[in-house]
């Protein structure tokens, strides 16, 4: 182990760590609890630049062989995660001024970065816990309504269950193969051995739990609703992306065979159908987004049906399109939506009259999440279903597309409320967030580029 390798290969993580220490130091030295915002933004931006640099130079190294390695895929994943975190931080300015909030976000990001560089289940475990633990606190920290406690507790219990399931699966795999390397999972996928199959099923179940795939989804709506807006945005995008990118790491490029494909197809398919149908009944915006994210987790896991090489491209593209558009919708939400009354979809009525910019941005986000062209969500959906079809699962692809059709209605309903309904006299609008414009442009500009030049991005994934 050469320490220079450790410094270079883990540069994004080191920057995040330095940022955390700086935040803590700043708080101790200045004696003020506030003012961490700029340090956090600068840290994440610097970490993202570092990841870009690793990616651009094609840096490949393994400072901790068998546990941690930096390669093109890991660097690309880190760029995505860190870049998506920037708008979240910008939007946090109004809700959180305490340094401890930013320390928690940075440490969660550290975990996510660790996760996508993992080569062994030991590091995966470390990463997934480091990513999740701060979020339990983040859900609780706003404490704007009693439900926050309940949501945090639910999330904690379900997260703990997921961890236990993961550990059980990993130990079975270790017993079967005698190795903690992620490769053991890929080997076990092709095996008929009961021990191996049980291990695979448990690991996949843990991933489903973390990503909120039906029937392991029940925590998501409560957690999303209980948290404050930036935290919900963080959970819906970065945590979900982190889990999926970790799954990508675990599955490798192995072609999944029957009967595992059925588990990987049926549960996500049920997830799409149920997520989209349940979202129709929701009256709260964030609960609706939670069910929408359950459906999107289904699309994302569908990608694992496809051939190995296309998977990485499809999932990364989808995660970017989905993340950007979700964030765009959250960024322009008026402040004060933490109040249960404000979170109601009714509060969106006539939004176009009050705040045209926010209404147009939310409309773009909804149309993209619904997967309508010419928005990036469509290309992402196209990519996933193309891979599924090319792998020979015609029926699964058709069912999946029909399931995605079910989702169009509730996204359009948001647009209907904003543009077509008369203004509610009760729906006094909160003030817009301070950095909403910057944050939304930060989400919109890449999304437009993705829609106009998708080929450019695809060549680089």
């Amino acid at each position: 182990m050469i320490w220079q390798d450790v410094v270079t290969a883990m540069l994004p993580e080191h920057i995040l760590l330095a940022g955390m220490l700086l935040l803590l130091g700043h708080e101790i030295v200045s004696g003020r609890e506030r003012g961490g915002f700029l340090i956090a933004v600068a840290t994440v931006a610097a970490a993202a630049v570092a990841a870009c640099w690793l990616s651009a130079t094609g840096y490949t190294n393994s400072p901790f062989p068998g546990h941690y390695s930096t390669d093109a895929a890991a660097a690309a994943s880190k760029i995505v995660l860190l870049a998506l975190a920037l708008p979240v931080l910008l939007a946090s300015r109004d809700d959180f001024e305490e340094s401890r909030y930013y320390v928690l976000v940075l440490s969660s990001l550290y975990g996510a970065c660790l996760l996508v560089s993992s080569d062994s289940f030991a590091t995966i475990f470390l990463g997934i816990e480091l990513m999740s633990l701060p979020v339990y606190v983040l859900v609780l920290i706003a404490f704007l309504r009693p439900e926050s406690t309940e949501a945090a507790l639910k999330y904690l219990v379900m997260g703990g269950t997921a961890t236990a399931t993961l550990l059980m699966g990993v130990s079975l795999l270790y017993g079967w193969s005698g190795s903690l390397a992620v490769q053991a999972f890929a080997d076990a996928l092709g095996s008929q051995d009961t021990l191996a199959v049980a291990g695979v099923v448990l690991v996949v179940a843990a991933l489903f739990l973390k990503a909120a795939v039906v029937p392991f989804h029940a925590w998501a709506p409560d957690a999303y609703e209980g948290a404050s807006v930036p935290v919900t945005a963080y959970m819906a995008t970065i945590i979900k992306a982190g889990v999926l990118l970790a799954a990508l790491r675990i599955f490798g490029t192995v072609q999944v065979l029957r009967p595992m494909t059925d588990m990987l197809a049926v549960l996500p398919l049920v997830s799409m159908v149920w997520g989209n149908i349940a979202a129709i009944r929701q009256t709260s915006f964030r609960r609706m987004i939670a069910y929408s994210s359950i459906a999107h987790a289904g699309y994302l896991f569908y990608a694992f049906l496809g051939a190995g090489p296309g998977r990485h491209q499809a999932i990364l593209f989808y995660v970017i399109a989905y993340g950007l558009m979700n964030l765009l919708a959250f960024m322009v939400l008026p402040r004060g939506t933490d109040d249960p009354a404000h979170d109601r979809l009714d509060a969106f009525k006539g939004l176009f009259q009050r705040r045209p910019f926010a209404a147009v941005m939310i409309a773009i986000a909804m149309l993209s999440l619904a997967g309508l062209p010419p928005l990036p969500g469509f290309i992402a959906k196209f990519l996933i279903f193309r891979n599924v079809l090319a792998a020979g699962y015609t029926l699964y692809a058709v069912f999946g597309l029909v399931a995605s059709y079910l989702g169009i209605y509730f996204y359009l309903r948001v647009i209907q409320y904003m543009f077509m309904s008369a203004e509610q006299p009760a729906a006094a609008s909160g003030r817009p967030r301070r950095y909403a414009l910057v944050a939304s442009l930060l989400c919109l500009a890449p999304a437009v580029l993705m829609a106009v030049f998708p080929g450019w991005l695809l060549d680089r994934l």
């Binding site: 309508l372 597309l401 998708p454 060549d459």
Partner: protein, 512 residues
């Protein structure tokens, strides 16, 4: 001489118009209207230039632009004009300024957004017509939903939300299955030939077994048949038309409905020729049912807009009849009928809008004897009525007559060979002409003649803006009715190509 740049300019001009409108300050409604009209007129002028420069003696595409878009998947930004779309592009550009001018007084709410959406849909419609790449086509095809959803939903009538959701959910369902078929089609091309391409010309060469062709045609066909709309998938149309604002109805009847028939002509039938020939009797039956059933429904309506909406179903039945006849005359007639219906139905919706703005009702029973109250209006309405019936010298006659002739041309040899169904169907289709005369003349009679009755009196006759709009429409009707040779000659080579593609066998393994 026009070159490909002009076509690109025509296509992207609406986007420029949209941005220009977005940048105008709030509250400057008249400026927005002026900018919109200016951009639309410029687009019309450029399209006229393209039309004049289109060489009718040259087969295949003209003004081609072909740039790789997503290289890895063989997707290209590929656009061009051929005999199929030249008239439809011209129609779209012709209706653009009329729609904009027609909405000057009717739309007072969210003016900026309205014209931005009109430009958006103009862009999507033109793109659908000129696209020569299946992915590009699909993107434009689906993109049409968004502006139409808003146009009906924001500026529509009382039940607008119901109507617009019905419209979107109907069309989106067809499209989602089409998407599956598109992906499957392109992937099957890859497995049989090793080429990854979305280009129409490559996909025409694809050879598939009959059962696969049938499934794919069903998926494409469902999407197109909903848009046409063919009975029994037509139930969204009356609601959408009745609730839409005038501009929305004109766009819907004028151009959007042609997307379905254009899709069949450009994609559905030529891509799956064997399945098409196997399903011809079924398709022909559906077309004739649409003609007769649409006309019968039009007869019993009491809402003026509904009559014209149901008449659209009937008129587009002729288009389908001409297309499945696979006779040269029938195919050219189908194209002609599309253009003619676009102008006539667009004009009729415009006129209904004008009377609605004055009296705020579309109930026929509220009107009577308008010929005395509004003489100028009545003259124009009568001309459009006669064009809708298909009186000789109007465009309606050219299209309908040719489509029917084509059907008979194709049916006669089959009848002599002992197969009577096509001839019977063609004969039934003729009754649609009579029914058409019945409902349109009856409408004109109740509206224009008899005892003088109108909800609000007195009101003024047409103003200059409205007269100019209608003069343009009437001029186009007579031009197509009296001198159809020019436009028809532009479609001839494309019609022959279509005929060859559909009649040529594509079944995997059989001799070409």
């Amino acid at each position: 001489m026009a070159d490909p740049t002009v076509l690109n300019l025509v296509l992207w001009l609406p986007v420029a118009g949209m941005l220009a409108i977005a940048l105008t300050p709030r509250g400057q409604d008249s400026l927005v209207r002026a900018v919109s009209l200016g951009v639309m007129l410029l687009q019309l002028a450029l399209t006229a230039w393209l039309y004049a420069g289109f060489d009718a003696t040259q087969p295949g595409l003209q003004f081609v632009t072909n740039v790789p878009w997503i290289r890895e998947w063989g997707i290209a930004y590929s656009i061009g004009l051929d005999g199929f779309n030249i008239l439809l592009v011209t129609l779209t550009a012709f209706l653009g300024p009329l729609v904009v001018a027609g909405a000057f007084t009717a739309i007072q709410k969210d003016v900026k957004l309205f014209y931005a959406m009109v430009f958006f849909i103009q862009f999507a419609m033109l793109g659908t017509f000129v696209a020569q790449d299946l992915f590009l086509f699909y993107v434009f095809w689906e993109a049409m939903l968004i502006p139409m959803f808003l146009i009906i939903g924001i500026w529509g009538g009382e039940r607008r939300i119901y109507a617009t959701l019905k419209f979107v959910l109907y069309t989106a369902f067809g499209s989602i299955l089409m998407l599956a078929a598109v992906i499957y089609l392109v992937y099957s091309l890859y497995t049989t030939t090793g080429i990854t391409s979305f280009a129409f010309t490559d996909l025409y060469q694809n050879q598939l077994p009959l059962d696969t062709q049938s499934w794919l045609l069903a998926a494409f066909g469902l999407s197109f048949a909903i848009k046409v709309p063919m009975v029994p998938l037509h139930t969204w149309l009356p609601d959408a038309h009745v609730e839409a604002p005038t501009a929305g109805s004109v766009i819907l009847a004028g151009v959007l409905l042609k997307m379905g028939t254009y899709g069949f002509m450009k994609l559905g039938f030529p891509l799956f020729p064997d399945a098409t020939r196997a399903f011809t009797p079924a398709l022909m039956t559906l077309a004739v049912i649409s003609i007769v059933y649409g006309a019968c429904l039009a007869l019993v309506q009491t809402d003026i807009k509904k009559i014209i909406a149901y008449s659209s179903i009937s008129h587009l039945g002729y288009v389908m009849l001409g297309l499945v006849s696979l006779d040269l005359l029938g195919i050219q007639g189908a194209i002609m009928q599309m253009v003619s219906h676009g102008i006539v139905a667009g004009g009729l919706f415009m006129m209904v809008g004008m009377i609605y703005e004055r009296c705020h009702t579309r109930d026929i029973a509220a009107y009577g004897g308008l010929a005395r109250l509004l003489p100028v209006y009545s003259v124009f309405f009568m001309i459009l009525t006669l064009a809708a019936i298909g009186l000789p010298t109007t465009s309606g006659f050219t299209g309908e007559f040719m489509a029917l002739m084509g059907a008979f041309n194709a049916a006669w040899p089959q009848f002599e060979a002992g197969y009577a169904l096509p001839l019977v169907l063609a004969a039934i289709a003729v009754s649609g002409v009579i029914l058409g005369a019945l409902y349109m003349l009856w409408l004109a009679q109740r509206l224009l003649f008899g005892g003088t009755r109108a909800p609000h009196q007195p009101f003024t006759d047409l103003d200059l803006r409205e007269k100019l709009i209608l003069v343009a429409i009437v001029a186009a009707i007579f031009w197509l009715g009296l001198f159809p040779a020019g436009p028809l000659s532009k479609t001839e080579l494309a019609a022959r190509e279509y005929q060859q593609l559909v009649l040529g066998t594509h079944v995997f393994g059989s001799a070409p």
